[in-house]
């Protein structure tokens, strides 16, 4: 349904206007949600409710608003990223880097595990029949709920630091990779399989020269999904570590002390991180597709 003249304006225009509408909606919601508190406060102090812009300014600049206004979140973000040293524990960049490290480690482990499992499943029918239902069932285990226990247990047997948290990401990230790779390793054109057979190619050659190359686009697409959920895993894994470091810890600390602005800024930071990671893998994905001649 895309119009033929697909200029950047026709693509960006609607997105920008929807974004502006969302921003407006956010301000209105912030006004409505924060007003009762301000009114209570004024009634308690026997102060007349101011009118017009003064009231608006007060409502949108509370210290612990129910819903912080966008500019408050931006201010907090500016304060905790640009104005703080990266080494400071109050710097959001410091926390983001910790979360990013966990995410990337978990993502790398998950990708490796996923590829290994997919190759094993491809080469053994019994393994496929026995393993695949459990791989699907594994994702119905709310791993995020066990995250605290896994971290406690792994700490007890001496695995510390990034690894326990990364395992949570791994557990979530391996699943799309397995599913995508199993599909991808079988995705090559049947005619090409026949051709390879006429060349008298061994299983090994078939794998390296046909199956693996054909699966790369499937791999990169799955990696895009996997990195997003690896980030979710990393954030949730940081909750039970006692709110020490990382974006998840900022969320938990903010929720303990009612610091809504802090929660929202951590959320925005996490979203930016997710968007960057997905965009990066999206770039790799489209580069691979272009190199393989899948996109005209």
């Amino acid at each position: 349904m895309r119009p033929k003249t697909d200029g950047w304006l026709s693509r960006v225009g609607p997105v920008v206007s929807v974004l502006l509408a969302l921003l407006l909606f956010w301000y209105v919601a912030a006004m409505l949600l924060n007003s009762p508190f301000e009114r209570d406060q004024n009634a308690r102090n026997d102060v007349e409710n101011p009118s017009g812009m003064v009231w608006l300014g007060a409502v949108l600049n509370q210290k612990r608003p129910v819903l912080p206004a966008p500019h408050q979140v931006m201010q907090e973000l500016y304060k905790t990223t640009v104005q703080k040293k990266i080494t400071s524990k109050r710097s959001l960049i410091h926390h983001s880097i910790i979360t990013l490290k966990t995410t990337l480690l978990g993502f790398a482990l998950g990708t490796g595990l996923g590829i290994l499992l997919a190759v094993a499943i491809l080469h053994n029918r019994a393994l496929e029949r026995a393993l695949m239902p459990w791989i699907i069932a594994s994702q119905t285990v709310p791993i995020l709920a066990i995250a605290p226990m896994i971290i406690v247990v792994l700490n007890a047997i001496g695995v510390q630091g990034l690894l326990p948290k990364a395992f949570i990401s791994t557990y979530l990230a391996f699943f799309p990779i397995v599913v995508g790779m199993v599909k991808g390793l079988r995705a090559a054109d049947p005619l090409l399989f026949d051709l390879m057979r006429t060349y008298n190619a061994s299983d090994w050659q078939l794998f390296w020269k046909l199956r693996l190359p054909a699966s790369i686009p499937y791999l990169t697409t799955s990696m895009k999904i996997a990195v997003a959920i690896a980030l979710v895993g990393a954030i949730v894994a940081e909750l039970p570590t006692g709110a020490v470091a990382g974006l998840g810890a900022r969320l938990l600390a903010g929720s303990y002390y009612g610091q809504t602005v802090q929660i929202w800024s951590a959320l925005v930071m996490a979203s930016v991180l997710a968007a960057c990671l997905v965009a990066l893998l999206g770039l790799i994905d489209s580069w691979v597709r272009k190199r393989m001649g899948l996109v005209t």
């Binding site: 349904m1 019994a126 026995a130 239902p133 995020l144 709920a145 979710v232 039970p240 959320l267």
Partner: protein, 380 residues
């Protein structure tokens, strides 16, 4: 026989022989050790393993089904004997010989699965039985390995409880589990799931008529599906209080975007030929929506419904970490971890996994019924 099966046979024989070489049990102070020869039962078992492996290897007259039966019986007899050995004198620790027998029994189980897959019938209801039996066989052996190694190595229960302990805990605290299940699954997950998927669907149908809104909302919704939405949990708890409403709200937000994206995509899944046909019938917008485009959207919509069925449970449980009344699966998990009652934690996990799997299975059953015409469901 395939190469893997031969390798498995060789491995079974090797580990059976290792069972003779390594000490079977060692006294706690490490001064004394016994060998396999001191126990007639184990001696018989390992010789049985070697006989079965040799028979499978060297008797060409055996059919695959007979091989499967032989290896299955051998592996489960092995598991039962090994389980019987456990729980005796705790001053003696099991040595390499014991674990070699365990590995041999497990490899026999794997070989049995190999043969089971080989003699799978091609069609009919018997095949359904097979497609259940193969993963079940694997799962049972996983539990057996867990049980035997945890108890033989005397792993403390605060690290990893044995499956039998977890089972006993489930049986003894059904009432608590039911209350938690009711709070988390029936109240938070189901209501949030219905509201989230329902509103995603309605918004998708509404913006379907406006290409402008579609082009504006879809990239944002796609982005939102990749965002760590569980992060809104603390905010929702602040807004909607500690009870199930806040958890349902998290579930609504988590399930909304996948449903929206998939429904919008599904609504454009019908081909232009089909839409032209509806047009030439003089069908109104609503008629072509209900008779053509919604049915055509079903496979993609069920895709989202299935993804959401697992997302919803995760969302509700994580939201309970941020504050909850004193019931709920997430609450129970976080408090029992603190009290080092890991068997209770595992009991909750088992309940959550079973509930999640059943939920997923129920959605796929409905899918089979509603979208029975789709190639991915139709049997070739």
């Amino acid at each position: 026989m395939s190469r893997l099966q031969q390798i498995l046979l060789a491995a079974i024989a090797t580990s059976s022989l290792f069972a003779f070489v390594f000490p079977y049990a060692i006294s706690a102070d490490g001064t004394e050790s016994t060998r396999l020869f001191s126990s007639v039962k184990m001696l018989l078992l390992v010789s049985g393993f070697l006989l079965v492996a040799g028979g499978v290897w060297r008797l060409p007259s055996l059919s695959t089904a007979q091989r499967c039966l032989l290896t299955t019986v051998a592996s489960f007899v092995g598991a039962i004997v090994l389980l019987g050995e456990l729980g005796g004198d705790s001053t003696w620790l099991f040595g390499g010989g014991f674990f070699a027998v365990m590995v041999a029994a497990w490899l026999l189980g794997w070989l049995a699965v190999e043969f089971l897959t080989e003699c799978e019938p091609k069609a009919g209801y018997v095949q359904l039985l097979w497609s259940l039996a193969i993963p079940l066989f694997f799962g049972v052996w996983l539990l057996l390995l867990w049980e035997i190694s945890v108890r033989a190595l005397q792993v403390p229960a605060v690290l990893l409880p044995a499956p039998s302990d977890i089972g006993a805990r489930i049986a003894s605290s059904l009432d608590v589990l039911w209350v938690d299940f009711n709070q988390t699954f029936i109240k938070s997950v189901l209501s949030g799931y219905v509201m989230g998927c329902g509103s995603g669907f309605i918004v998708a149908v509404l913006i379907d008529r406006s290409p402008f809104l579609q082009r504006g909302l879809l990239p944002l919704a796609n982005l939102a599906s990749a965002l760590p939405i569980v992060g809104v949990a603390p905010i929702m708890v602040m807004w909607f209080g500690f009870d199930w409403q806040s958890k349902a709200a998290v579930v609504v937000i988590m399930t909304f975007f996948p449903m929206l994206v998939n429904t919008v995509e599904g609504l454009s899944a019908s081909s232009s030929m089909q839409r032209d046909l509806m047009h030439s019938y003089g069908a109104s917008y609503w008629q072509s929506l209900f008779k053509l485009r919604l049915p055509a959207a079903m496979p993609l919509m069920f895709n989202a419904l299935k993804i959401n069925s697992t997302l919803a449970l995760i969302g509700a449980i994580v939201a309970e970490f941020f504050g909850t009344p004193i019931v709920g699966m997430g609450f129970r998990i976080s408090t029992e971890v603190g009290r080092m009652n890991l068997d209770m934690v595992w009991a909750e996990i088992a309940v959550a996994a079973i509930a999640g799997s059943l939920f997923y299975w129920a959605v796929s059953l409905v899918e089979r019924w509603v979208a029975h015409w789709h190639p991915s469901i139709r049997r070739s």
